[in-house]
Symmetry: none
Subunit: 238 residues, 4 copies
Amino acid sequence: MTTAPATPSAGTKRERRKEARPGELLEAALDLFVEKGFAATRVDDVAARAGVSKGTLFLYFPSKEELFKAVVRQNIAGRFEEWSHELETFEGTTGELLRHCYLVWWERIGATKASGITKLMFSESQNFPEITVFYQQEVIRPGQDLVRRILRRGMERGEFRGVNLDYAVHVVMAPMIFLMLWKHSMGACMPDALELGPEKFIDAQVDNVLYGLCARPETGPFAPALSSPSLPSSPSAV
Amino acid sequence: MTTAPATPSAGTKRERRKEARPGELLEAALDLFVEKGFAATRVDDVAARAGVSKGTLFLYFPSKEELFKAVVRQNIAGRFEEWSHELETFEGTTGELLRHCYLVWWERIGATKASGITKLMFSESQNFPEITVFYQQEVIRPGQDLVRRILRRGMERGEFRGVNLDYAVHVVMAPMIFLMLWKHSMGACMPDALELGPEKFIDAQVDNVLYGLCARPETGPFAPALSSPSLPSSPSAV
Amino acid sequence: MTTAPATPSAGTKRERRKEARPGELLEAALDLFVEKGFAATRVDDVAARAGVSKGTLFLYFPSKEELFKAVVRQNIAGRFEEWSHELETFEGTTGELLRHCYLVWWERIGATKASGITKLMFSESQNFPEITVFYQQEVIRPGQDLVRRILRRGMERGEFRGVNLDYAVHVVMAPMIFLMLWKHSMGACMPDALELGPEKFIDAQVDNVLYGLCARPETGPFAPALSSPSLPSSPSAV
Amino acid sequence: MTTAPATPSAGTKRERRKEARPGELLEAALDLFVEKGFAATRVDDVAARAGVSKGTLFLYFPSKEELFKAVVRQNIAGRFEEWSHELETFEGTTGELLRHCYLVWWERIGATKASGITKLMFSESQNFPEITVFYQQEVIRPGQDLVRRILRRGMERGEFRGVNLDYAVHVVMAPMIFLMLWKHSMGACMPDALELGPEKFIDAQVDNVLYGLCARPETGPFAPALSSPSLPSSPSAV
DNA sequence: TATGAATGAGCATTCATTCAT
DNA sequence: CATGAATGAATGCTCATTCAT
């Protein structure tokens, strides 16, 4: 109090605590939201896990919903810019890029607690419209845009067929989302092949997805169902 | 219609009501469980929607959990026997069988309210262990067994490659489950390509899945990741 | 149905059932009231144990309270006349009469389910005033009158000291009532010396009671506290 | 009063309230439990009588059962240590000690609301096994142990006959328990001699009990029924 | 800044009684 | 006579949010 601290951001122990509070609360909230879901998580428990009182939590976050939004921002929404940059600087075929994205996505989201947030949103979006709107704007749309840019890159380079992007985005994301949801619901309750080795599952999915997307001389035995109805997939689409 | 009553079991008006009650309650419960989820559905609302008092509901179902189980039995679990029989009498290639299954599954489950039950289970299994156990025994296991039998049929006939069944089951089911979950969560809140035409999405997924499964002379540019690790499916996989 | 029954009271099997109904209901009610108490006994259970429907019970007894009153009348209140007569025809000393009364009381009430009714009344009288009034008029008062007559007999014959009847009645009844209440509450939950041999307890109590009542030349080391305050029983009590 | 606060522990008005709350709730709960019994007492009413909301009650006591246990601890169970000490320091004959105990017991328990708890336990033990176990461990057993020690003291000093302790304990306690139960059930509903002057009743009972217990040269006209069957207390008892 | 005591609406389940058949 | 379907008021317990200190 009497002597000025060298670094103004973190002086006394108490002040350092004060600055750390939001982070500790967010970490505790992430844990509990992932474990119990949004509605079933009690703010008392979040505060207790962060080592503060319930009142203090409401000092930093005006409501349970705002607390959740902050968790989403810190763990997912706030990282899209970095990912977007990584995507732009990637060199190599778009097939390689897509495979790379699957892998890093698994490392950074799928295998971490962040995946629990996706599960939570799928579970409770109906009952909390305000959160859902926020999540769509901050996560879903940026995420789909990222995938769209990959697909366009492939199509512009002639590596992918001309496909209806709205469908293709879901084809690309479906296996990853399924993996997260399974892991945080049924997979948590029953012994399962996915439990220990999701990499194999991802590998198979990437192969299948790439097969559906890649430009091929002949269509083979399978119908080109990904094709945009108004934009036939034939060479003219390239 | 003119001579004898169609339903001989119901004489008086009251008896007809009594026989209809369970069905009316189950329908109301299905609607609300699908709309709100298990925890957020109030039994008062179920009773009100069925046109009876809260007490009457407990006359037919001893608890909210048992009510839910009855809904699951009527809409999903009770129909596996029929599906199993259809599977056995199918004639044609296993690829055609799989495509057929995707279609009828979409007609009977995916496009109906029954799909909401799957979404509900993925959402709330963590918080209601007793229901989860019931669902795994009555739905998940029989469903996976059905898929396993299809895959075995393909492998025994030489139509499919030798694959690790535990993974392949998930590869087959993932797109359908994703479709249900999306439809009942994000899809219900935002405009989406899947909303109106999921058939196209299904088509694309069937193609991809069949590509991964079908026996081919050469493996092409993609690694055969579906192969069982202990039972390599082809020399080139080594 | 076609031939008239010889005894008009019990003809066809159905009619015999009809006449037996109240008795079967009363027996079932006694069992359950004793086991659970008044409030905790459900009329559904009474009807079910009697083999009839809930509606039928209300056909014979207009309410749960009336059902209970009927149980009391059949098992206790209706038997005072007989006991009163037995008391009048007894020959022997009043001490012997009192001991005799303790024994037959134990046989007919204390050791039977009827004792459970006393326990029930002590337990729930506060919450059911109407029943309590009934019980006081039909059971408590007649019972106390019986004891009073015994005590008066002893005093008139010079066998007992002059005592305040209002207190003496309680002194006589207290051990028996205690025995019933213990048996149906704590005794039912914990191993206890009273459980198997209440006769010994009764013996001891009779001795003590008689000691306090009997006329004695000298009062011994103990104050004659039973004496009526206005009518000192002996000079030493002054 | 004017200078320093009497209670140094409570600073602000709020803190004083907080410290007083449990006591206020316990007092309100004691009143209502005694008046209505355990099952018939609504927690809302307890809270209202203490001047707080229902939620506040559950802030201090996690359930109705725990609230009741706390009431028992405060009013009975927590005072055995003090009583035990009083017993050890008593000087005089064991007959005097017993009479003394009856009197102080009446002052501290019998004449206070605490006696209502005993009545409650006798009434509802069957329906609430968990509470019953607690009560037996915390009240019944310590109470019986106290009586046992008095009886042993009398036997060791040669003042009392050799008796079966298991029965004698009940003989000693029966009159007091009867008094409590009567007062809180029938006595509360009908005019009664015990209502205003239980001391006289107690006096009579003490005399009778002491008569049964005290060592006497000859057994008199009454059988020594208190004697332990396997351990005859004196040659004359054979 | 931090606390934590207080609130009160919300919810699954029970049960005596009624009455149409 | 007999049924049993229907009712609806009653109750213990939870939890996000507020606010006095």
